[in-house]
């Protein structure tokens, strides 16, 4: 009996040792190929078809070109045409370590990788547990910035996101890092994004090949640098020219009148905020839409469902089943994107009036939020901002007062019991 018990106490230790040994030595960090794109290399994911999938040789060519152009997570390479600073990248890349003067290196892996993933694909080990999901940098789409809708964020935009974090999400503030460290991380995010966009561009180029190309991309400087890399890198270097010009809020504004005008615009046909943010501004209008990242997965999923339930042949079904396996590892379960609840006073892209101006003027890239520029005059945008900023406050001026109570039916469950208390 005693023997059995002492044996029992050893077993967990043995099991742990075995479990640790089971996964073998850790291989050096490597970038993952964008497998969802390798199977469906199209801009429009509802046109996904089995004959578009890149062959293993084509996938290998993309991996090889990317290795040549961008190196590895431990040893990033930047071609001069990428417009990146190698010294900053070195500080952010590689395993966490201290250099000879005691300066911390490997910042991305220390601070970012568990959510954003080693490849910047937003598929770090923590990602599935977060809502919203961490950003996937690879499509090169960023939401919170001072530039026009499709333009890249400026350098200060990304620095601001790192310093302030993103309220209402899991993105924390990194204000405790030194400015040099923050700048190094911003450079590394750009590097991962340029790498990811290059990968997408390369994969989509296979469809454009002619028959005499025999299924291989050209590996000339002219193609890889001039045609693929430079246009992607240029969007980052020209971002500063695309900053939205914000006219000053009209002087001597009567705030109450401005809020009232903003309210009319909010509910009116011109700005039409009500359609998505809802009559209560709780974000309960159009609530079954997806952002661009999730939308692609939803489209693929619908397509694969169609193959499973339709009259596709066995080969096509097999392809669909294999694609599902890729999705299981390389995509997170799509979630709808709720329009922002404007009663909470939490603004992901920043709470300064100018941040709200950028959001309304240009919309939010990657999200359904459309641009109001051109159809709503600048002074009207200011009225909407004043109205939106008044929303989190109750009629008594207190923050957090939930005016939606007024529109709920009196008999709603929960409401009565709250009042009884």
């Amino acid at each position: 009996m005693m023997q059995a018990r002492s044996l029992l106490s050893v077993v967990p230790v043995v099991a742990m040792v075995l479990a640790m040994a089971g996964c073998g030595p850790t291989p050096p960090a490597s970038f993952r190929l964008n497998m969802v794109e390798a199977v469906s290399p199209t801009a429009e994911k509802d046109s996904v078809a089995s004959d578009q999938e890149l062959t293993p040789e084509q996938q290998k060519q993309v991996a090889t070109i990317l290795l040549a152009m961008f190196g590895t997570p431990d040893e990033p390479v930047c071609l001069p045409e990428a417009g990146l600073d190698p010294a900053k990248l070195r500080l952010a890349a590689g395993p966490v370590r201290s250099d000879i003067v005691g300066r911390k290196n490997g910042l991305f892996r220390e601070h970012c990788v568990h959510c954003h993933g080693i490849t910047g694909d937003g598929l770090g080990p923590t990602a599935a547990f977060l809502n919203p999901y961490p950003r996937d940098y690879r499509p090169g789409i960023f939401k919170f910035k001072s530039t026009e809708r499709a333009d890249k964020p400026t350098h200060p935009d990304l620095v601001r996101v790192l310093n302030n974090g993103i309220p209402g999400t899991s993105m924390p503030s990194f204000a405790l890092l030194s400015p040099i460290e923050v700048v190094a991380l911003v450079e590394y995010v750009k590097y991962l994004s340029i790498r990811g966009e290059t990968e997408l561009a390369l994969m989509r180029q296979f469809f454009e090949l002619d028959e005499e190309d025999k299924g291989r991309l050209s590996e000339t400087r002219e193609f890889l640098i001039a045609e693929v890399l430079e246009p992607i890198a240029a969007k980052w270097t020209t971002a500063a020219d695309a900053v939205i010009e914000v006219p000053a809020m009209p002087a001597n504004l009567d705030l109450a009148a401005s809020i009232e005008k903003g309210r009319e615009l909010f509910y009116g046909d011109k700005a039409n905020c009500v359609k998505c943010h809802g009559v209560t501004s709780l974000g309960d209008g159009q609530a079954n839409d997806y952002d661009d990242w999730s939308k692609n997965i939803v489209k693929i999923d619908t397509k694969l469902d169609g193959i499973a339930t339709g009259d596709a042949d066995a080969k096509e079904r097999q392809w669909a089943a294999e694609f599902r396996q890729v999705l299981a590892g390389d995509a997170l379960k799509p979630r709808t994107i709720p329009p922002r609840n404007l009663r909470q006073g939490i603004y992901r892209g920043g709470r300064r009036p100018v941040d709200l101006y950028y959001r309304i003027h240009a919309g939010i890239n990657g999200a359904p939020m459309p641009a109001a520029k051109g159809t709503v005059a600048p002074e009207d945008i200011w009225h909407i901002i004043n109205y939106v900023r008044s929303l989190p406050y109750g009629l008594d001026g207190e923050l957090g007062a939930d005016r939606s109570v007024a529109v709920r039916p009196a008999s709603a469950p929960g409401l009565a019991s709250r009042e009884e208390k």
Binding site: A4, L7, L8, V11, A15, A19, G22, C23, R32, M35, A38, T42, A43, E44, D46, S47, A49, D51, Q52, E57, Q59, K60, A63, T64, I65, A68, M69, L79, R149, A150, D151, F207, E219, T220, R221, E222, L224, I225, D269, K270, A271, N272, C276, Q286, N288, D289, T302, E322, V326, G329, D330, G363, P368, M369, P370, A371, A372, G374, T375, V376
Partner: protein
């Protein structure tokens, strides 16, 4: 009691081991390190292959290509869309909206919305895009032209003839603009699309159209009777056209060996100067339109 626990433990250890490494993600091919090193050296040398290869013009004169797409199958009834918002504007007097992705003319079986565009050429007749805007309108919460084509640089006048607000979101472009009731906004496409891209309204999710923008403007969309005509094409050089339909979004595949029609939905033809070339009827079997 203890004995039974000891008996279960090996199983538990096995289960823990199996779970330990987690479900495997599908791993793609690994890069060829030696080839990558060689390529990197080539890319870093500023000399190699820098000369731009502007292709020399081939042939002279201009020609027109025309033809007609016919649906070779039994037309199925169009699906009624679920309309659940702004009913007074989107479904006045109980009006129904139908799926626009397969429009077949009931009398002639003409297949509308087939897109043809020239993949590349050495010459273009009209050097600059037209300055007059192309109107893209919406009414009763439906895009009036389900597929439209425009030349890069030509302004597109995105209109809203409804009494309710819309937003028009052209995928992969910078354009996602709120369009007030009875209002409009101008979009000037700055770059070429490959295959057509989707145009949606996020407020009314059933609304869907497609847009295609080409630099040279050599693009046609088949009309309601299935016919198309592409004028001013460069004659005397081999031309390759990409053909697309909303239900054949990966390329419309036809069995036409005479036109060297390939599995990517492309065909080839060389035109003679000042000739109106009619390639006649192109029959599209239902199976070719099985995609989304």
């Amino acid at each position: 009691m203890d004995a039974s626990i000891t008996r279960i433990i090996p199983l538990m250890v096995l289960a823990a081991l199996a779970a330990g490494c987690g479900p495997g993600r599908v791993v793609g091919p690994v890069a060829d390190a030696a080839a990558a090193a060689t390529l990197r050296t080539a890319l870093l040398s500023s000399e190699a292959g820098k000369a731009a290869t502007e292709s020399a013009p081939v042939g002279t004169g201009w020609a027109t290509l025309k033809g007609r797409f016919l649906f070779a199958g039994t037309p199925v009834e169009r699906t009624v869309l679920v309309v659940d918002k702004d009913m007074e504007f989107c479904s006045p007097h109980g009006m129904k909206l139908y799926d626009q992705s397969l429009r077949i003319d009931p009398s002639t079986k003409g297949l509308a919305d087939v897109v043809l565009f020239l993949r590349k050429s050495t010459r273009v007749k009209e050097a600059s895009p037209p300055s007059e805007p192309l109107v893209f309108d919406q009414k009763n919460c439906e895009f009036i032209t389900p597929v439209f084509a425009s030349r890069v640089g030509q302004p597109v006048d995105v209109r809203n003839s409804d009494m309710t607000g819309h937003n028009t979101n052209i995928a992969t472009t910078p354009f996602n603009q709120s369009i007030p009731a009875q209002g409009s906004a101008i979009y000037k496409p700055a770059s070429e699309t490959g295959m057509p891209i989707s145009v949606t309204c996020n407020i009314h999710p059933w609304m869907k159209a497609y847009a295609v923008f080409r630099k040279d403007g050599y693009v046609a969309v088949s009309s309601v009777d299935g016919s198309f005509e592409l004028p001013d094409l460069p004659a005397g050089e081999p031309l390759e056209f990409q053909v697309w339909h909303p239900r054949a979004a990966a390329g419309l595949k036809l069995d036409r060996p005479d036109l060297k029609w390939n599995p990517k939905g492309r065909f080839q033809i060389t035109l003679e100067p000042d000739v109106l070339k009619d390639i006649g009827t192109l029959e599209v079997p239902a199976a070719a339109l099985s995609g989304s």
